[in-house]
Symmetry: C2
Subunit: 470 residues, 2 copies
């Protein structure tokens, strides 16, 4: 962030404003909506008949609008309902406390009231430390304390407490209703939809990385004369995954707001938002792995033995990474379109698994021309992380399938996926061979490697499917 | 979280309350402080002379207390000052707008006022999307919109607008001052101190993990008959590092609040809180690496070749991990006591680097009895991650040294650290050898390995200090 400051400082405020608006035009619309809501409740003042009804209590409508109008519908609803419930409950309790205290006579009343205020304020403040209350009802508890203190304390001086309460409640209702109406019906910004989009775009960012990783990592061969600028741009576009590392808190708050939202668009009232959080957390796990992987990009390898080894694993690693990337891209679009993940995502995972088996065979069978393990350790680590990433992708697939069940995703026609056979046959090295005894494993016979430029003449047996790595 | 729910459900509310209070008694004190502040401002109502002065405007004092009293001093000050500034600025502008609008006559006035309210509300709401304003002045802008609307709109109906403004300002001042006074002088909770403690405890969590890692990872030898329960407890105590992964947002908000706080305890007014964020982010980077490392704990290794390999790297890996852990522990205590990192932290890092060189030599020189690379890949990955962790620890050390300069840490006497020589000599395998040509590198001559049970009879040259791995 510090590195960006000079650039930001040089940009004029105007440029930054335009950029903020252009990045997300909903921000401009939101600002106009707040202006509209405030101007609307100001009518309570300007329009004589209304002012005669509410009087000075109309300020509560203004206050309510300013305080509860939030960016998303869910947040506005959450704050509005919290405010409404908190006010009602505390108002009733406050009036009760005031009546009770008045039994103690002129001297006793303020003492009893003061005691009540102290007790309820302390207890309510403490309740805000409970994580669940903090997450959903924090604002309601705040309003509860506020209203209880106001009502019980005002009641001591103001005679017509019920009329006051009635005026205040109705103006708060007008303010709240205005916000909710404008928020719901004028270009609504749904927290649920935003969460949905964030999850999709996070998975896509990982897919981008994985699809681009192979070219980036194995560029030693033809990448010598690539100009630095385009290399830099490419690298920084890959780095988009880094935002996934820190997306937890925004996902959680969106899921919380989404749970307050009514049915909208493709989403029902009780849409399984929690499952989105689960997918988000698995995505983040995968992003942590990519963060490790990213440490190995652009590490110069001058050692001959390492280059030889890298050439040998290149094809499998490329396949693992790009097939996982493709699987993730299909999974992202499956969430996007709310259809069950198509079988081609599984095909890509199977392709990646086949490539893992291939890689394992490469590793298993007599590589060492030199005994120098040190040079190949970074590459070996990359292999290991890639294998783990495939497992993460499988977990993401499972979570999305669960989401499909919970949210009744549409099914797409089970088509015979042409991709698997053509692609693998095109590479000319894998012949699928179905064996009844293997249960649900697909046994893949690897003949030999032809693409690394020389044949090793080794007989490669099918992997026994053991996952040694992690 | 879902897994904990049955347990939480079974616990009574009372038990949970007691636990919340016991975990952090400052919560109870905070709740009592809020109760006290509210009861205190209620005096404005109960005490006749005060009530005669402020009248109904006294509710603003209650409102202010409820809204700005936060857990830490910094948050309370930030909200209080934001509220004060926002109110003053908006109040002045509001009175101005009201005067200007009155020039347009009875019909024009509400239209001009409505236009102003719309314009300022929309513009201010938009300004809240600027990240810097969002971080520090969000509440101030909210109060600005609120007050501007209230003042300009009330002005249309209320005759004595200046008196109203004066009453309201003084009650807000009373409320704010009460909060700030109680927050500052009764058991204050400093955001800065909390940030300081969180950073220390996060580094300690990583240190714990690294110190415990070796035993956990290499337990195949004597760990067969360890009972499952104690193993589970030990593992879950190691997992404490996981909270570091997601500590970013709380660190950032604490640093923001800390920057509002006056001098307190060991911290001056302009304590370099940003540097704490930098250390926090480096700590988190290291936690990501530990997260990768953690994936390799408790993976069963049945393959003979892997066990052999693991035995061979055990000593070096143990040393790297525990020396990094010790270095981190010393660094944590250096922040804690606000002294410059003692030279023993560097010694531990040097020890870890020496162990890396040892490990590299092990890897470099003719290990492969079998040609099966596959089995040893997880172990190789562990080596690589450990090497990266040492680099992270070095970066943390540098950042803490910078903090020492910025915050004028005390220096401890440079003592000759006995630890390095005794420990390494005790292991009997490393003879430090200083070479003038190597600049700031310490060249370490590794004779041979004696602890793996057999001598390989290899001549091992000092590592050339290249970092092949990342």
């Amino acid at each position: 962030m510090a590195a960006h400051q000079p650039k930001l400082g040089a940009m004029s405020v105007m440029e930054r404003t335009v950029k903020l608006g252009r990045d997300d035009p909903r921000r401009i619309i939101h600002s106009l909506k707040v202006g509209l809501a405030l101007t609307f409740v100001s009518l309570l003042y300007y329009w004589r008949p209304l002012y005669d009804g509410f009087g000075i209590a109309a300020i509560w409508a203004v206050l309510t609008v300013v305080v509860i109008f939030e960016f998303t519908v869910g947040a506005t609803l959450s704050k509005g309902l919290n405010r409404g419930l908190g006010t009602l409950l505390a108002g009733a309790l406050g009036v009760g406390a005031q009546h009770f205290a008045s039994l103690f006579g002129q001297t006793g009343e303020p003492i009893v009231l003061g005691f009540f205020v102290f007790l309820l304020a302390a207890a309510s403040t403490f309740s805000r430390f409970f994580p669940r209350i903090k997450a959903r009802y924090d604002y309601g508890v705040l309003i509860f304390i506020l209203t209880f203190s106001l009502v019980s304390v005002s009641g001591y001086r103001v005679e017509k407490i019920l009329e006051l309460a009635h005026q205040r409640l109705s103006t708060i209702l007008i303010g709240g209703a205005t916000c909710i109406f404008i928020s719901l019906f004028i270009c609504p910004v749904w927290a649920g939809e935003s969460l949905h989009n964030i999850i999709v775009s996070n998975i896509e960012k990982l897919a981008n990385y994985l699809e681009g990783f192979g070219v980036e990592y194995f560029q030693y061969e033809d990448g010598e004369n690539v100009d630095e600028d385009s290399k830099h741009n490419k690298l920084s576009s890959l780095q988009a995954y880094k935002t996934v590392l820190t997306s937890q808190s925004s996902e959680e708050s969106l899921a919380n707001f989404a749970s307050w939202e009514p049915r909208h668009g493709k989403f029902s009232f009780r849409h399984p938002w929690k499952q989105y959080l689960k997918i988000g957390s698995l995505t983040r796990q995968c992003a942590y792995q990519i963060e490790s992987l990213n440490g190995y990009i652009n590490v110069p390898t001058d050692i001959q033995v390492a280059i030889q080894f890298r050439r040998r694993i290149e094809e499998s690693c490329n396949a693992i990474s790009s097939e996982s990337g493709k699987a993730l891209r299909i999974l992202a679009s499956s969430i996007k379109t709310m259809t069950n993940p198509s079988s081609s995502s599984k095909t890509h995972i199977e392709n990646a698994t086949a490539a893992i088996d291939e890689l394992k065979n490469t590793l298993k069978t007599g590589y060492m021309e030199s005994s120098d393990l040190l040079g190949i350790i970074p590459d070996a680590t990359v292999c290991c992380i890639l294998i783990d990433i495939v497992k993460s992708v499988e977990k993401i697939l499972e979570a999305i399938e669960e989401l499909g069940v919970l949210a009744s995703f549409k099914s797409v026609e089970p088509t015979v996926s042409p991709e698997k056979s053509t692609q693998l046959l095109h590479r000319g090295i894998v012949n699928p061979l179905f064996d009844g005894e293997c249960g649900d494993h697909v046994v893949i016979m690897v003949d030999n490697e032809v693409e690394v430029g020389k044949s090793h003449g080794l007989e490669v047996k099918p992997s026994n499917g053991e996952m040694v790595c992690k």
